[in-house]
């Protein structure tokens, strides 16, 4: 995969010059791929099915996507890398740009950039359908409403110090599996949230077995890949060096339809190893060491089984007493902090709070992903304004992959979804504001909605179309943990 030519540049789809052909060439290439037979690995159908498909008869490498696992980022980097090659070949074949590169959708930039790019919205004139348009998206997406900052911001994810772990950047240690329940921060927000926000109830993007058939999927994942690049560019951050991660083999198809195999170790340096870079991103960091598990890089070194060194021991100190059902309207869970458990967890620290406080939401089950995204708020006052809600925001809860977790394919065990968020900074703020008494915590789930792009202050506002008609999702446990 090494390249000695100038790297391809993946550009921001929203800031392309008006005469830039990138999106038009993408649209034409998508149309070309859609005409290819489903048996062709370079066809639109085949590429989408490599991520996931409902088809009962499968072909090589179908249903291969990796979610809820520390392989999430590496697998998707390779997936879109080879997709980009296939599209580029189609573009060049049609006489287009030889330097074509997949653009990214930087919804986190806010404003108009938080809306679906224009080229993806319209269905096109009769007889000339727009290949980039998908009707089965959340109402409002195709008309230009914006995703709220609450779901597009990668700030929490980028601030995580480690890669490995369920409350870290990249996800927990798992084997190869499509939905393994060990989500990292970036996979949850913005990745899962944007999938659900674009797809909505029953939409293509909200279903992992259809998602890659929506042309915006690839720009979304280019952005997720860019976020990984940004996180890795911080000298304080280290990608895994565990051989179980670096050495895991995954297969894809190149532009000739030939099967190729790579490991995460092959994709750590996007410029040197893969030959592309991101517009506006800082220069690539030094190439990672070839040998794994250097003793001087212990931050996320996880060469032995068990939680990595960057994951402190977590101690449950209180939890919900019964499951809560989410149906599209706000719901609140009351949690009593157990004095004995908290005292034991705080032993020796002498403070009100430990070094780390976590909010865990687990055993999440439902028949169907409602496509809703909930903000989770700690000790939120009744009738709180969106601004107050933002100051109590602990993260989001979305359900991308809910059905697959319940009825997995292949070797995965069935399970409910589970997410863990570190809320230390929020808890400390609430303590200083006199809103955390250490004995009682409320966690409020509030659905988030699309907003006008020029009203970002509504990011945490309840949607106008609030109703309890969502397919129900049961949250089995909500737990506070000290670490």
């Amino acid at each position: 995969m090494n390249t000695s030519t100038a790297p391809y540049v993946r550009k921001n789809v929203w800031t392309l010059p008006s005469a830039d052909p990138t999106v038009a060439e993408y649209s034409a290439a998508v149309a070309t791929m859609m005409t290819r037979p489903a048996s062709d690995p370079t066809s639109w159908t085949y590429q989408a099915a490599m991520h996931g498909t409902h088809a009962t008869s499968t072909r090589p490498l179908w249903n291969g996507c990796q979610h809820g696992t520390w392989f999430f980022l590496a697998w998707h980097r390779l997936f879109i890398y080879y997709f980009e090659k296939i599209v580029r070949a189609a573009v060049v074949g049609a006489g287009g740009s030889t330097g074509w590169a997949l653009p990214f959708w930087d919804y986190g930039a806010g404003g108009e950039q938080a809306t679906l790019p224009n080229a993806f919205r319209g269905a096109g004139p009769a007889g000339h359908p727009n290949p980039l348009h998908v009707a089965k998206r959340r109402p409002g997406i195709n008309t230009g409403l914006a995703l709220p900052t609450a779901v597009t911001s990668a700030a929490r994810a980028l601030a995580r110090p480690g890669f490995v772990g369920t409350a870290q950047f990249g996800g927990g240690i798992t084997g190869v599996g499509q939905f393994s329940g060990q989500y990292g921060e970036v996979e949850t927000t913005p990745h899962n949230d944007v999938h659900d926000f674009v797809g909505g109830n029953g939409g293509v993007m909200a279903d992992p077995q259809q998602a890659a058939a929506d042309p915006i999927f690839w720009l979304h994942h280019a952005n997720i890949d860019r976020l990984w690049y940004l996180w890795s560019s911080d000298p304080a951050h280290t990608d895994p060096s565990d051989p179980r991660w670096t050495g895991q083999k995954f297969s894809f198809f190149d532009a000739n339809g030939t099967q190729v195999q790579h490991t995460p170790a092959d994709v750590l340096d996007i410029v040197g190893q893969l030959g592309y870079e991101y517009e506006g991103a800082p220069p690539a960091p030094p190439a990672p060491p070839a040998a794994p598990a250097a003793p001087t890089a212990p931050r996320v070194a996880v060469s032995s089984p068990g939680p990595p060194a960057s994951e402190p021991e977590r101690e449950p100190v209180g939890g919900s007493t019964e499951p809560v059902q989410l149906t599209g309207v706000p719901a609140t869970v009351e949690i009593e902090i157990d004095e004995r458990a908290a005292s034991a967890a705080l032993a020796g620290s002498g403070g009100t709070l430990p070094d780390h406080v976590y909010l865990s939401v687990s055993d999440i089950e439902g028949e169907q992903n409602p496509g809703s995204v909930y903000g989770m708020y700690v000790n939120l006052p009744a009738q709180a304004s969106p601004q107050v809600a933002e100051s109590h925001h602990a993260g989001n809860l979305s359900f991308f992959g809910l059905e697959r977790a319940r009825e997995p394919q292949g070797d995965e065990p069935a399970h409910g979804l589970a997410f863990t968020r570190e809320i230390t900074a929020l808890a400390n703020k609430l303590v200083s504001d006199g809103e955390w008494d250490g004995t009682h915590v409320t966690v409020t789930f509030r659905p988030l909605g699309l907003i006008p792009h020029d009203q970002p202050e509504l990011s945490h506002a309840l949607p106008d179309d609030l109703s309890s008609d969502d397919p129900p999702v049961t949250v089995g446990s909500v737990t506070i943990l000290y670490g």
């Binding site: 190869v176 393994s180 157990d338 458990a341 967890a345 399970h415 589970a418």
Partner: protein, 257 residues
């Protein structure tokens, strides 16, 4: 959940920074498993017997007198369940500990184990009742049939679903009766999934009249491989092949004998 559970075991057994109540329970369960194996080897090491044979008062070689069914048979069944089923259940026991308030962790883990064993005891009772139906069947024919049934079960969708259910987590309430009830329910649900997954192999164990320790060790290895493997479908298929091979060997040797 399997990786979470696997990490739970290593976490529970690792010497922790703070006092770890779950470590004592994990070690206690480990000692019980070890003791069950010691008893099994000392009872069966020099001879052979079957649970169903014992229940019907058949002759036996060992320390337990014949004709004392069904009590001794249930004791033997319990010993076998502890020896064969608990090793692969350790991750779930550790999981209960990791999800429970520290001060009630031991109680929660013991409650889970008790409920889990209760399901297997119920299955053992049913087996003893049903075993009357094959009381007059030749022992090698019975074992061969049991192995064929176990092979067929391994290849069913229901088997795969049952094995998946063994890995499902369960919401545990933090304290009080709600907590005890949720731990009991989790133990019962996990035990039920385990019985659905492993019943056929345990029938083999129940009718095996010779090389008892060999069968115990082999079936324990198969059960553990299925439950702990990262590739359970592969483990299931491997078990099916081994069981089918064993059925052929038992059948051929029966014909030759």
């Amino acid at each position: 959940m399997i990786l979470e559970l696997r990490a739970g075991v290593s976490g529970a057994l690792r010497r922790p920074a703070r006092p770890s109540p779950e470590r004592a329970v994990m070690l206690g369960v480990g000692v019980a498993i070890g003791a069950a194996w010691v008893v099994a080897v000392s009872m069966f090491g020099s001879g052979a017997m079957s649970i169903t044979g014992l229940a019907m008062g058949a002759s036996m070689t060992g320390s337990m007198p014949a004709g004392t069914a069904p009590g001794p048979a249930m004791l033997m069944w319990t010993m076998m369940v502890v020896a064969m089923m608990l090793p692969a259940t350790l991750p779930a026991v550790a999981y209960v500990g990791s999800r429970t308030l520290r001060w009630r962790r031991r109680r929660a883990m013991v409650t889970f184990v008790a409920a889990y064993l209760l399901v297997w005891l119920g299955a053992g009772l049913m087996l003893l009742v049903v075993s009357q139906a094959w009381a007059r069947v030749r022992e090698d024919v019975l074992l061969c049939l049991a192995l064929l049934v176990a092979t067929a079960w391994q290849l069913t969708t229901d088997k795969r679903r049952a094995l998946r259910d063994c890995h499902r987590s369960f919401p545990l309430a933090p304290r009080g009766w709600d907590a005890t009830r949720s731990e009991l329910r989790f133990g019962l649900r996990n035990g039920y999934a385990c019985v659905r997954s492993c019943w056929a192999m345990m029938v083999v164990m129940a009718v095996a009249t010779s090389a008892t320790v060999f069968w115990m060790a082999t079936l324990t290895a198969l059960v553990s491989a299925e439950k702990l493997s990262r590739r359970p479908r592969q483990a299931i298929r491997m078990s099916a092949w081994l069981l089918a091979g064993a059925a052929v060997i038992v059948g051929v040797s029966g014909l030759a004998g």
